[in-house]
């Protein structure tokens, strides 16, 4: 990831935390936190199964099945978050921020599927690192929103 990308990610994280400070008491915090937690579990599982495959502990079939399941789970989490109706500007900003984070997670999961299918070990390892970071980020967001 380039420097600009990292800065953008930090900015998004800071913005999310600021929004959390104002938005935690809103009605959206709880369901958005739930979506973040579910996506975190999905991304974490994807990272784990790919790591196991690189260590020759998991079969192709297990990785493929797990990644497919996790894409479904993250898509469901995204849809739940997207279906919520914000009533205030703060709620809207919070929802959009979470949706962007979930969208990044979904894109990473699709990249993981491609990397796994290609069998390119270095691509898989790069994806594992990215997924682990995103799982931690989503878990943090989930905890802040739904303690």
């Amino acid at each position: 990831m380039n420097r600009l990308g990292r800065s953008l990610k930090r900015f998004a994280m800071l913005a999310a935390l600021l929004l959390l400070a104002t938005g935690c008491s809103s009605g959206l915090a709880d369901p958005l936190g739930q979506s973040a937690k579910e996506a975190s579990a999905a991304v974490g599982s994807a990272a784990m199964v790919l790591r196991l495959e690189t260590e020759d502990k998991a079969t192709d079939a297990l990785s493929e099945t797990t990644l497919g399941d996790m894409v479904d789970q993250s898509t469901a989490a995204y849809q739940s978050a997207a279906e919520l109706t914000p009533k205030t500007a703060d709620d809207l900003a919070l929802q959009q921020n979470i949706l962007q984070t979930l969208d990044r997670a979904l894109r990473s999961l699709h990249s993981a599927q491609l990397a796994q299918a290609s069998g390119d070990a270095s691509a898989v390892q790069a994806v594992v690192v990215r997924l682990q970071a995103q799982a931690a980020e989503l878990a943090e967001l989930g905890k802040e929103l739904k303690p």
Binding site: Q34, K37, E38, S40, A41, A42, G44, S45, M48, V49, L52, D56, K57, A58, T59, D60, A61, L62, E64, T65, T66, G68, D69, M70, Q73, A135, A139, K143, P147
Partner: protein, 428 residues
């Protein structure tokens, strides 16, 4: 009677070989009881609970195992003494109206469990092949029907039970993971709602785990199986041993599943929502070999339970309406029994074909099992205390006291299940 020191050499040899056979029979019974204990409900619920609550709900598994031991043993005795299966006697003893409620609840839960088990078989085949589970559903359904139609009762029970023993790999992997045993012990012995989880969610899963351990079909299958195998009063000790040794060891497997999830998935913040996540701790600890064992185990456990629930659907309905039933009869002599099983399989496959998540079906089936438990177990207790059916084999005082204590727990779980489901958002 040919005693050890009094008979001829031939007598002694015959006695020895029949003793060996009997030991073999007991061992086989216990092993199949262990391997057959775990089904999709136990697999999923224990893994979900382990990944979210650690071992803080082990006490529920212990409670559930004690409960199923008590009631399976009672229903086995009723069948062995009377030579008739549970539902036949319940209908006769309680009358058609009162027992209809029992039938409806049990049949509905059984159908739900059957759907979950066939889905479980398809999911296990997906884990082995990566072909989508929906493509496996017709294959799984057809295989279940074929086995129920063609294979002898004893063989289908023993083969799936013995193959299900490969789930011991969860216990082996728990040791390979080298966990902090003190931490696990503390979780198990000092149960508490973990940080980040609501009390309603904790109690919802407590009820689900209890429902998973005490699923009603196990009792119907056990008592009808006793009639299929023509048990008599002489077989009571072996049936007791199967239940009292086999089921607790099966419960130990359930705890191992929860413990593996608690060690690997809980610290990573991964709450289980799919079967593929259930096996990740095994791959982490034992690699591809352990993975192969666990997939065989999951397949055997779900396939075995799919056979049992399919048979139970035929048993319950046929026994209630007084139709000819049983695998000991040729299909042509028990046509309605076989037709019910085929229809139930088709309904289960149809439900799965809608794309409903089999894991969700499993989660709901164990909770609704808890709701239906009193309707299943109260009549069994009534019949087991009726000397007209049981003669001198009615329940003793101690057993009745323990069973009544369990009835209170069962009633509480049944009453709390739906409110807890609503309060916790079905465990969200």
């Amino acid at each position: 009677m040919s005693g050890k020191g009094s008979g001829s050499l031939a007598d002694q040899a015959t006695g020895k070989s029949s003793a060996n056979l009997s030991i073999l029979g007991v061992a086989l019974g216990i092993l199949t009881a262990i391997g057959g204990f775990v089904d999709i409900g136990d697999l999923v619920t224990n893994a979900v609970v382990g990944s979210r609550f650690g071992l803080s709900l082990v006490w529920v598994t212990v409670l559930g195992v004690v409960g199923i031991c008590i009631f399976a043993q009672i229903s086995g005795r009723v069948a062995a003494v009377s030579g008739r299966a549970t539902f036949e006697i319940i209908r006769e003893r309680l009358g058609p109206r009162a027992s209809l409620l029992n039938l409806l609840a049990s049949f509905f839960i059984n159908l739900m469990t059957l759907t979950a088990e066939v889905g479980g078989v398809a999911l296990a085949l997906q884990l082995a092949s990566s072909v989508h589970y929906l493509a496996w559903v017709p294959v799984a359904g057809f295989a279940v029907w074929l086995v129920v139609w063609r294979v002898k009762f004893k063989i289908l029970e023993n083969v799936t039970g013995l193959l299900g023993l490969t789930l011991i790999v969860f216990a082996v992997c728990l040791f390979l993971l080298n966990p902090d045993w003190n931490h696990l012990f503390n979780q198990a012995t000092r149960p508490a709602v973990p940080e980040g989880e609501a009390p309603a969610t904790y109690w919802y899963y407590a009820v689900a785990l209890f429902g998973a351990a005490m699923t009603p079909y196990e009792v119907f299958f056990f008592s009808s199986g006793a009639v299929e195998e023509k048990w008599t009063v002489k077989d009571l000790s072996q049936s007791r041993l199967n239940v009292l040794v086999g089921f607790p060891l099966g419960g130990f497997l359930s705890v191992a599943i929860a413990a593996c999830a608690a060690v690997v998935l809980l610290p990573a913040g991964i709450g289980v929502t799919s079967l593929s996540q259930v096996v990740l701790p095994v791959a982490e600890a034992g690699g591809k070999l352990a993975l192969a064992f666990v997939i065989v185990g999951v397949l055997a456990a779900t396939f075995g339970a799919a056979l049992e629930t399919t048979l139970s659907s035929g048993y319950t309905l046929s026994q209630f309406f007084g139709w000819s039933w049983g695998k000991f009869r040729r299909p042509v002599r028990a046509a309605r029994f076989h037709l019910v099983m085929i229809l139930c399989l088709l309904v289960g496959m149809g439900v799965l074909a809608t794309g409903v998540d089999p894991i969700k079906v499993t989660e709901y089936s164990v909770v609704f099992s808890a709701v239906a438990l009193p309707l299943t177990y109260i009549p069994i207790l009534i019949v087991a205390n009726d000397p007209d059916y049981m003669g001198r084999h009615v329940n003793g005082r101690l057993l009745n006291f323990t069973a009544l204590v369990f009835m209170v727990i069962i009633l509480l779980a049944a009453l709390a299940a739906i409110p807890l489901m609503l309060l916790s958002g079905a465990g969200a």
